[in-house]
């Protein structure tokens, strides 16, 4: 008989090992899945993990890694603060959209003025838009005790409708021959989030993501507020006893995650995407949830997990076009990663015991 036994203390070694084991398990079972779909398993896995980094066209894919990884890391850092405290913002996707709309909207309002302050103002506007959208579930939770999971999630769909309405209406390019979508910000220098080094993929969003990682690391390890976040997640009553105001913490964590998601949206729309379109959002806000957990809600872990997730995105695209793997299979593959991680997580606090139980249960 196999049974689980609670460890006297959480195991640090296991906690560090589980992400690696989860990746290996995903490779194995993902390969199995691809095999069942009639694709060569080893080649598929290699295409996803090897091709983007060291393949023939790596020079093209490596910058893509930064471009795709940056929003994931930026959003996941924000989410991890709330998740650590037991505050579940599931609506980063909506906050990402609102950040993009506020940022792009402000930039386009200045068009065609050429001034140095436009881009910084767009950054502020993007952050504000995401923050504002996250404040809706935060305020409703604090004031009326609503469930932030549901409210923030539903607001994603509201934001998507709002995005469609904007790209068809207010923000539509007047010189766009009636096609939906805004002017392309890549062609508007004062608002363009250009690469800092040509061909590197390094744009301001990547810088912001790195700053966010450092900021979150210092906050969680050295600052009173970070400690309050951790205690609230571990033992809410103990946190309240120590003097944490749970309402204020909800407002901070929701606001911070919204703000970072908004920034991610703004950097995306002003840079790699270039314009507000109906299908501007591609699910970064949801994937970032996986990234946050894959990175163990730890800033450094999230940085690595963001890279890994970006890799599966890019590798998945390559596998789709080269091997004809269905897009759904790639999504299942990414889902497996979270699944295995959460399952293996169990062993941080429990260990397996083989043999008959000593006690009648």
């Amino acid at each position: 008989m196999i049974r689980l036994e609670k460890r006297p203390e959480p195991s640090r070694a296991v906690s560090l090992a589980t992400p690696v084991l989860a990746v290996l398990a995903t490779m194995f079972f993902g390969g199995l899945l691809f095999m069942i779909l009639g694709k060569p398993p080893i080649q598929s896995i290699l295409t996803i993990f090897w091709e983007p980094l060291f393949g023939e066209f790596a020079f093209y894919y490596r910058p893509q890694l930064l471009i795709k990884g940056a929003p994931l890391v930026l959003i996941a850092i924000g989410l991890s603060l709330g998740f650590k405290a037991g505050i579940w913002n599931i609506g980063a996707e909506g906050q990402y959209i609102m950040g993009a709309l506020f940022g792009a909207g402000l930039g386009l309002a200045f068009y065609p003025l050429d001034a140095w302050y436009i881009f910084p103002l767009m950054v502020l506007a993007g952050a504000f838009g995401g923050w504002l959208w996250a404040m809706i579930p935060a305020f409703l939770k604090v004031r009326f005790g609503t469930n932030e999971i549901l409210v923030s999630l539903m607001l994603v769909y509201v934001a998507e409708q709002f995005l469609a309405s904007m790209s068809l209406g207010l923000l539509k390019n007047p010189e766009g021959f009636g096609f939906p979508g805004s002017r392309n910000l890549q062609q508007y220098d004062a608002a363009f989030n250009a690469e800092l080094i040509e061909g590197s993929g390094m744009h301001w969003g990547v810088v912001a993501a790195l700053i966010a990682v450092i900021f979150a690391y210092v906050l969680l390890t050295k600052h009173r507020l970070g400690f309050a976040i951790r205690v609230t997640g571990e033992a809410p009553r103990a946190a309240k006893f120590s003097g944490v105001n749970p309402m204020r913490l909800i407002l901070f964590c929701m606001g911070m995650s919204g703000l970072l998601a908004g920034l991610a949206g703004m950097f995306e729309v002003a840079g790699p995407a270039g314009q507000v379109t109906i299908d501007f959002n591609v699910g970064y806000g949801f994937t970032a949830i996986i990234v946050a957990f894959l990175g163990r809600l730890h800033p450094i872990g999230i940085l690595l997990a963001g890279g890994l997730m970006a890799l599966t995105y890019i590798g998945g695209d390559i596998a789709q076009s080269n091997l004809g793997l269905p897009a759904a299979a790639i999504q299942v593959f990414q889902g497996m990663l979270l699944f295995f991680l959460l399952a293996l997580d169990m062993f941080t606090n429990y260990r397996l015991r083989f043999g008959r139980s000593a006690e009648a249960v």
Binding site: P10, F227, R230, E234, S242
Partner: protein, 507 residues
């Protein structure tokens, strides 16, 4: 009683857990109608022993016999079928359900509600446990909840009733009523295994006693003929140190509560009603009362976890009712809640982090928001050293400590921060006798140095030992405090609300 054949005989029972032998070669026997005490400190192995009898734990070796036949229950259901009933210390009742529904949930073949209600009325009538089957459990007092558990057992007509620390939630008057019920049961031939560490109770109720220490039987005695002190020393294994105190005159008023009323944060909690009391420098105010009568709520109102209206709580002349825990702590109001894991300490966090939890302000561990972890570690080490906390080091998680050691850590953390007012709830709950004595001594020393203390406890002996004045919480109201010297048990009982409308068994 000695010449009757034993109803239950245990011989050589041994049970080991990883790292600790909970029971080693334990033998005892209980005759029908005998009230047998099982005496021992926390961690002496009492619970493990009764869990084996009740089928929750399987012994590693040794035999049990019931009426001469081998008895090895594989699960509680089998034990119950054999006639063993158990009333646990912690009730397993659903607040939102009625008495009858709760009892039905615990029964194998529950009869129809109407029939069951009649049975409950019959049993409660016979044994003097008045209880309406239709009442909602959430509205019952602790004593009444216990009766639900007892009636649930009695409905199965047990031949052996195990009671785990039944009086810790009762007033002295309620204890007397319970004892009458138990005596009646015993007269009818029901054997009773009575677990407690309250020696006077055992002397008045039990026919025989088995004393456990560190999992071994260290003595047997006839309680009526043995002094409480002798039993205590058998239980602890050493000569007990009684805390000492010097006479003193109380100083200025530190805490002034005026008509403090506050709602309870939890649905079935007890609101505080119109509490007025003053506590002076160097004084210990002992607050007794049955659990659930506003103890947690009072502590929360003083710690700042719940806020109160203007003018209700003054500390050193300043109104603090609207301040949260952090400013109150900076001013010198420190508290230690009853529940160690999850309230006073975060279970999965290290002792260093738990030292930071309340020590940040007064120990200067927080410099403009940035936390000084090395200093927090030193503070944790100091607590561990000064209060003899048994742990490998401050890096260990709070939950890895035993209850008593964590309690020492929690109390030590507050005591070492030089409070002006210290409020503790159940300071020695679950702590062994010598550690309890040292915690009480630390509290007395604080008072000696001018701290005002409020000690909330359900252990009346403890309160009488250290309090200058005594008051009791009953239904959220605080009785008029009285000088602790010369208070009789009867007077204390009446302050605690008397028998809460309960009646004596109609014997």
């Amino acid at each position: 009683m000695t010449d009757t054949k034993p109803f239950l005989a245990l011989s050589g029972l041994t049970k080991a857990y990883p790292g600790v032998v909970a029971n080693s070669d334990v033998s005892l026997s209980i005759a029908p109608g005998e009230v047998h005490a099982l005496l021992g400190e926390n961690g002496a192995g009492k619970s493990t022993l009764v869990k084996m009898i009740y089928g929750l734990v399987k012994p590693d070796s040794g035999q049990m016999q019931m009426n001469g036949a081998p008895f090895a229950p594989s699960e509680p259901r089998a034990a119950r079928a054999a006639g063993v009933g158990m009333v646990f210390q912690h009730f397993s009742l659903f607040d939102a359900l009625s008495v009858a529904e709760n009892i039905a949930l615990g029964m194998e073949n529950a009869p129809k509600m109407g029939a069951l209600s009649q049975q409950i009325r019959d049993v409660s009538d016979i044994y003097g446990l008045p209880l309406s089957p239709d009442r909602v459990v959430g509205d019952l007092s602790a004593g009444e909840r216990q009766r639900v558990e007892i009636i649930r057992c009695l409905l199965q007509e047990p031949k052996l009733l195990i009671m785990d620390e039944p009086t810790s939630v009762l007033t002295p008057q309620e204890v007397e009523i319970l004892f009458k019920t138990l005596r009646k049961l015993s007269a009818e031939g029901t054997a009773i295994l009575y677990i407690s560490h309250k020696l006077e109770e055992i002397r008045s109720l039990c026919d025989s006693a088995t004393i456990l220490r560190l999992g071994k039987v260290v003595g047997e005695c006839t309680p009526a003929e043995t002094s409480a002190r002798d039993m205590a020393e058998m239980m602890v294994g050493t000569v007990l140190q009684t805390p000492t105190r010097a006479g003193k005159t109380p100083g200025d008023v530190v805490l002034d509560l005026k008509n403090l009323s506050a709602k309870s944060p939890s649905a079935f909690g007890m609101p505080l009603r119109d509490i007025s009391v003053q506590v002076r420098r160097g004084e210990i105010l002992g607050i007794g009362g049955v659990a659930g009568n506003g103890q947690d709520e009072l502590l929360a109102a003083l710690s700042g976890e719940t806020l109160s209206a203007q003018g209700m709580v003054s500390f050193q002349g300043r109104d603090v009712g609207l301040l949260g825990p952090t400013p109150r702590r900076s001013m010198g109001i420190l508290t230690a809640p009853e529940e160690r894991l999850g309230h006073a300490a975060a279970p999965d966090m290290s002792l260093t982090e738990n030292a930071m939890l309340t020590g940040a302000e007064r120990e200067g561990l927080d410099k403009g928001g940035m936390l000084n972890w090395p200093a927090a570690r030193r503070f944790a080490e100091k607590i561990i050293a000064d209060f003899d906390v048994r742990t490998p080091g401050p890096g260990n998680a709070a939950r890895s400590l035993s209850g008593g050691n964590l309690q020492k850590f929690v109390i030590g953390r507050e005591v070492l921060q030089r409070p002006d007012l210290l409020v503790v709830n159940q300071p020695t709950w679950g702590v062994d006798a010598s550690a309890a004595a040292s915690i009480r001594q630390a509290l007395l020393d604080l008072a000696e140095n001018g701290t005002a203390l409020i000690v909330i406890s359900q252990d009346l002996d403890e309160l009488m030992e250290i309090s200058d004045r005594f008051a009791a919480l009953n239904e959220g109201r605080l009785s008029e405090p009285r000088s602790a010297q010369g208070l009789t048990v009867d007077e204390i009982g009446l302050m605690m609300g008397g028998a809460h409308g309960m009646e004596v068994a109609h014997v």
